[in-house]
């Protein structure tokens, strides 16, 4: 059963957006916070009248740590039939936001739809939006501390974080991160290290 304490099953990518397969779901543009407004304003002037969504993502192994992802669609207000709508174009703008300075310009004046979306990213990731008319928490209570969707925020919240696995469950957890203790566990550690060809850990009498 997976849990927030289960380590990944194998080799994983630090930046999935850089190694994505060839799926034609949108035209993808990557920018930094400095050129974000210019890019989005340019797209809006080009006919991308609709901001479908703005969301955040956290990649702690990567710098910049966060991504703010904007999904745009170029619908025309006068498109009153299916033929007139045709197949609109989707654009995905990914803006990398560094952890040290998590500030991004707000686009709530370009598309009013962005108002709540940016508040939610602020609430759940802690990224501030410069120029937002009313930047405050939206999903969590106003006095909540922490930003829940960050990867270092525990799943069950800081108050209920389960304690690490007790010693008797160590056999299934050997090598996964919780240090082994006790003679049987230590012997098992040595056997596994030897089998993997790694350095055999020293005997710590415990």
């Amino acid at each position: 059963m997976p849990s927030s304490q289960t380590p990944p099953a194998g080799a994983t990518a630090v930046d999935p957006t850089a190694v994505r397969p060839d799926i034609a779901d949108a035209r993808i543009i990557r920018v930094g916070p400095a050129d974000l407004r210019a890019t989005l304003a340019g797209l809006k002037a080009d006919g991308f009248t609709m901001l479908l969504d703005a969301g955040g993502a956290d990649y702690p192994g990567r710098d910049p740590r966060f991504d703010v992802v904007y999904h745009l669609l170029n619908l025309k207000p006068g498109a009153a039939t299916v033929a007139a709508v045709g197949r609109p174009e989707r654009v995905r703008v990914l803006c990398g936001v560094p952890e040290a300075e998590p500030v991004v310009p707000s686009v709530a004046d370009l598309w009013p739809a962005a108002n709540w979306a940016e508040r939610e990213i602020f609430d759940l990731f802690g990224i501030r939006f410069d120029g937002h008319p009313d930047l405050r928490r939206i999903q969590m209570p106003a006095d909540w501390e922490g930003h829940p969707l960050r990867k270092d925020y525990p799943l069950r919240g800081p108050a209920r974080e389960r304690s690490p696995r007790p010693n008797f469950a160590l056999k299934s957890n050997v090598g996964a991160g919780t240090p082994a203790s006790g003679r049987t566990a230590a012997a098992l550690q040595k056997q596994i290290a030897a089998a993997r060809g790694q350095a055999v850990p020293k005997d710590d009498a415990s």
Binding site: Q139, M140, P141, W144, P148, Y153, P154, L155, R156, G157, R160
Partner: protein
Amino acid sequence: MAVAELPGGQFLLAKLDDVARWAQSSSVWPLTMGLACCAIEMMTATAPEYDLARFGSEVFRASPRQADLMIVSGRVAQKMAPVVKRLYDQMADPKWVISMGACASSGGVFDNYAIVQGVDQVVPVDVYVPGCPPTPDGLLYAVNLIQQQIRQGGRGGILARA
């Protein structure tokens, strides 16, 4: 309810407590406390196929002052918990609480930061209904259990006078 018929006359004899409890159990009016998916099944319980009204719950009252049963139907988020508590406090005695569904009873599928793990951390609960969501039959049975509890004397055997 112990009822005795007096000889030779058209009179019934019973204790006042029993009559009061019979009246209260026959007209339990729920508060509209629909939170999430269970609320839809709660609404379905008032719909023709299941029909909660035939058990006396003729109307759902929006005002806590006019309701005596709070059916907490759905997951209780951190922001909503104080609201639930406040509404419970505003309800007049005697009042009962059904915790409908897995989320209201124990946090359900959502063992995380955002959901209160069981509404009984916020208000005292009389009947828990398992299910995700429970079928409307389950809710009807829970209301029946509340009615039984009322007729047997309420919580702790003490039933506040109307």
